[in-house]
Amino acid sequence: MTLTPRSKTLVIMPAWNEAESVFSTVQEVLEHGPDCDVLVVDDGSTDATARLAAEAGARVIRLPFNMGVGGAMRTGFKYALQHGYEQAIQVDADGQHDPREIQRVLDGLANADIVIGSRFEDRKEYEVKGPRKWAMVVLGGVLSRISGTRLTDVTSGFRAANRRAIRQYVAHYPAEYLGDTIDSLVVAVRSGCTVAQVPVNMRARQGGTPSHHPVKAAVYLVRSGLALVFALTRKKSSPVGD
């Protein structure tokens, strides 16, 4: 292990108690992904996540306590900035992002500062219903308007950032609920970053299950709405120059 980056690309993988999947996901990224360094940000796990990630060949940062995906990602972006990476991409540790598609999402950075790997809209198996769907439609509509591009999957965690966006994230990445997806995007766009989306395939998660409970979905709707309203009404952050 060396301090200087081996590659220009950093894959940031936030992981909280992902011991069942982190080893295979890291290995798969190293094997099938592009030339990159993999950084696993262990978000205060109580299981063997950190050890398994290191054994699989990732660099590991261990946060002293659980800070949520937002905190883990901000740490990852800080690391990327301090170590001079040109671009960074978030990949979930649960294996739902296909490492073979990392390069495709990264390629999108050629004409945008932030690229979101979005699920195909027409694939049946990823269909969501009820409040969660309404939330996604509304969020997508609003974010499409302010960013000036059509965005269909704004809560996707499969997203890449160039140096400009990384710098912007480090300065203003919010720690609030959904800060890692909606809030960060709104803030970045309003301070001058451009966004694009690339269609990708999502796979089933290797561990954990998505929640479909109606109450949880309703709570999600309310909280995401609030997150959006707050993000939109917040004072514009000053653009971060190169």
């Binding site: 060396t2 301090l3 660099r59 590991v60 261990r62 946060l63 002293p64 800080k78 690391y79 301090q82």
Partner: protein
């Protein structure tokens, strides 16, 4: 009754100032309590002030004015504390991020050092 009220306020004030002196409480929080304490002291010494204020504002029962003022002040104090806790939390989070990155870097640097930790045999 006035004596009891004055005594109580004095005790609270002495307590706050003592905490301040021993650096158990930061000045920015203590100031609030000292101001509230002095205000209460004035009211306890001159109860007529309360009756006068109630008449001017148009509150029928003077004690209700007292309760309202107390509620508003306490609300202010708790909001202030929430704000301070939030900013402390932000600071803690940033520190945690920095520490975590530094620890990872330190491990990398240690890995690069030549492994000469064991004492060498003397020639």
């Amino acid at each position: 009754m006035t004596i009891v009220a004055v005594l109580f306020v004095v005790v609270v004030l002495v307590f706050v100032i003592e905490m301040l002196r021993r650096q158990k409480i930061r000045e920015k929080y203590a100031v609030l309590w000292i101001v509230i304490g002095i205000g209460t002291l004035v009211l306890a010494a001159f109860p007529d002030l309360l009756f006068w204020a109630a008449r001017v504002i148009g509150v029928q029962v003077p004690s209700n004015l007292l309760f309202a003022i107390a509620l508003i002040l306490l609300l202010g104090v708790t909001l202030h504390l929430s704000r301070e806790v939030s900013s402390s939390e932000d600071e803690i989070r940033s520190l945690a991020e920095e520490v975590a990155i530094l620890r990872a870097d330190l491990r990398d640097v240690q890995g690069q050092l030549p492994a000469e930790r064991e004492p060498r045999p003397r020639p």
